[in-house]
Symmetry: C2
Subunit: 481 residues, 2 copies
């Protein structure tokens, strides 16, 4: 058949060359494409549909907590970017500068937003006067630009999509509560929706966001044992408020500075889905985030009654709320099986003349390859149950993998050896001195991923794995994307 010309080609083995495997999957599952714009990706329909599902679910979870969406300009005048000292130092080296508008050079150059703290502050300084104007819990969905030197689709590109929440509060306590609340939303979203287990914790001072008092993070583990920072939430205290003059008259009639937070999650999570769940046949999508949850593939499609039966199955599944697609193209069933596997659709339904005669269909799971024969009459229920089962299995599998790749190191020799030989997280005590972080990074390329919320307290008498001084924290270390 004509369709077979374009057979699904084999991809690099995941365990042989993880980086090449990733590139192959991204390309062959048609998630991204390239244009002449160096370092920027095209997100194609199969990739963007995943992002739309991420957006929809995150946005719903945000709105349940009172978040309101807004849109702010994509440009930041240089003087505005420079108002907060730490922040400008963090971002100025990696922004793109607009110097001409229309036919005239600009009087003041502007960068394309790398993040929008400064713009939100500019707005809040105008809009907040009284305690009645608080809290402000704004979020925007947009793209941002950071002029990276080396880029990879979803993981690091000069432009990427994200949401950035920016809030202002009357008290430090409320800001801290919101910072944690949003981090927990990210964590629950990752675990429940993307089936990706995460470690929740706090960044060290060295790793925290430019201008933040505290940065909370969720860290996940990819199949190659590298860590991926998957979502961050920052508490700014009143630092930005002082730099931008964001003051309000409180109930007690005194003038106070607001306390602020920001938090973001990006298209990088599509990279995480690939690297946590994918296998040698391609992408594996957790059912909840999959744009297509089931593909119906008719066998011997031209025989009488086959296509009609397949259409009926599709309609039954659609009615039950399953995102289903019928592949009635003239490609061979074998090609269609490979395509379903490459694109990571959680389940396919094979339906041939003999199945139909016996009132049955075959469900094939993408995660395990397991086949089940089920009565067509109750196929929608069976498919729903199976999708739940797949979602659960993917999370458990990822969690078991992650847990099996968490190591401990009590002395530096063990740390270095583990970092060298065993990809994964290393739990090790730390004195709190950035010099030790720097040395560990130089010796092993490991960075501190986080001080976990659970278990971040040092054990009695524990010492820093690097310098041997008294430990302040237990830290997750890892090589990171």
């Amino acid at each position: 058949m004509a369709g077979d010309k374009k057979l699904v080609e084999a991809i690099t083995s995941r365990d042989e060359d993880f980086a090449q495997w990733y590139t192959d999957v991204v390309k062959k599952a048609e998630l991204t494409g390239y244009t002449s714009v160096k370092g920027c990706m095209v997100i194609k329909p199969a990739g963007y549909a995943i992002w739309e599902n991420i957006q929809k679910e995150l946005d719903r979870r945000f709105k349940e907590t009172g978040v309101e969406n807004v849109y702010l300009p994509m440009f930041i005048p240089e003087s505005l970017l420079q108002k907060e000292k730490d922040h400008v130092e963090g971002f100025a080296p990696e922004v793109a500068w607009v110097t001409q508008g229309g036919l005239n050079p600009l009087q003041e150059r502007m960068c394309v937003r790398p993040t929008s703290e400064t713009l939100f502050c500019d707005l809040y300084a105008k809009d907040i006067q009284s305690y009645r104007d608080l809290p402000k819990v704004y979020n925007q969905w947009c793209s941002v630009v950071r002029w990276e030197k080396t880029t990879r689709p979803f993981l690091r590109s000069r432009e990427f999509l994200w949401q950035e929440g920016h809030t202002a509060h009357a008290t430090a306590e409320e800001a801290e509560e919101r910072t944690k609340q949003m981090l927990n939303i990210y964590a629950d979203f990752c675990e429940e929706f993307l089936a990706i287990p995460v470690v929740r914790g706090r960044k060290t001072d060295k790793e925290k966001f430019a201008g933040a008092e505290a940065t909370y993070t969720i860290e996940s583990l990819m199949h190659d044992g590298k860590a991926l920072q998957s979502g961050t939430s920052h508490n700014f205290g009143d630092g930005f408020a002082k730099a931008f003059g964001i003051q309000f008259t409180d109930r007690d009639n005194t003038l106070k500075y607001v306390h602020q937070t920001s938090w973001g999650m990006t298209t990088r999570m599509i990279g995480a889905i690939i690297m946590v769940h994918g296998d040698d046949s391609g992408l594996v999508l957790p059912p909840k985030v999959a744009p297509v949850q089931a593909v119906v593939i008719p066998i011997q499609m031209k025989k009488e009654g086959v296509l009609e039966a397949a259409e009926k199955v599709r309609d039954e599944l659609a009615k039950a709320g399953i995102r289903v697609r019928l592949d009635d193209s003239d490609k061979s069933p074998g090609w269609k099986f490979s395509e379903q596997e490459m694109r990571g659709f959680p389940m396919r339904i094979e339906l041939g003349p003999r199945d139909i005669a016996s009132g049955q269909a075959v469900l094939v799971r993408r995660d395990t390859g397991e086949k089940t024969t089920v009565p067509i009459e109750t196929i929608a229920d069976a498919a729903k149950d199976l999708l739940e089962e797949i979602q659960k299995n993917l999370f458990e599998k990822a969690k078991a993998f992650r847990d099996a790749h968490i190591y401990e190191a009590d002395d530096y020799k063990t740390f270095v050896k583990t970092a060298d030989e065993k990809p994964g997280f290393i739990k090790a005590h730390w004195c709190g001195d950035p010099a030790c972080e720097e040395k560990i990074k130089e010796d092993t390329t490991c960075t501190s991923r986080c001080i976990p919320f659970k278990g971040g307290e040092p054990k009695d008498g524990a010492v820093c794995v690097c310098c041997g001084r008294k430990a302040k924290h237990l830290v997750y270390w890892g090589k990171a994307y």
Copy 2:
């Protein structure tokens, strides 16, 4: 009460100073805000929620016709922008240029996309090889930048939000069909969802899009009698395909150029909603696009049972699928009434102790101010019916207004006098010569809005209103935003 301090202030009368009225409504309904970024607006929660509803509904209608969403880079290298001659001439004078990335000057400057035809062509040239790869029916939701000198919120700003669809087809017929199909989606969306009547037609060569063979448009009439171009759909023929080398092998094994279209609708439509439906009390939102469709306002809230009854009413309405808000703040009922009117929520429900005692509530329509007393028991049904009624009434009112402001002119004197004295559309015959369009524009500031699909054929023996030569078309003329 404390809330009364910030009483809803009066706005300029709509008929006295339309431009100032518009500015007042945008500001007092809190649709937009300002930052230090000149010419760019902040879309605040009340404005952005309208855009979210527009997006959701348009996106649904798009997807029903097979549209797939993607995301392309926001930057266009100068050499890419220059590939299609007419296109670059149309846009180059009004783009913003990025000349530096990170700490280094760029080898080639890039503009921030004013529209993305060139990028989609760049992608299609890579991705389209065979008739099997067609059609491509892609769309993206994003922001674009055009360096305008004078700006107004929603109507004209240096950055605005929109969707831009870009398609590629095997035949000219299919491209033409898609161009018309999308224009009809815009037209139906405006009339059914935004309650804005439109004229569907074709742009003259002078007014068509830079690089297009044909531009179709929907034109609506604002309350001040000015026209607003509300959505456009372009047929590019194979012009871009030739400039970018987008060829495919057809079924007959010959190499052919694709035929392309593009189509867009923008945040400008929020401006249209304001200018078509608004009145001297502020914004008036058609129920279908209103983020809040009903506000429940308790009277004598502190009396026993009032707040509970109000909460029950809110819950009933929410259960019936109505977007409802309960205003239980400590502001006065009068303040709340004014606020509901200013923000354009279609209906308020007043509920006081006496109402509750008699098992009734008062529904007040935003569009007419009319009050109806209804039994609390059946309030959800009554509210639903009323919302439908308001939606219908707003469309009919706008249509009656529009129709009453369409004039005809058979000779130039009448045309000039009408243009001078009567704000609205002028229907007049035209010979097809751009010189006559130019003269009309110079003499009256009217531009050709469109050659309507219905009634665009000239009457027998009709002559051009400007030069007296034989007429080719009947044209809608108007002063435009």
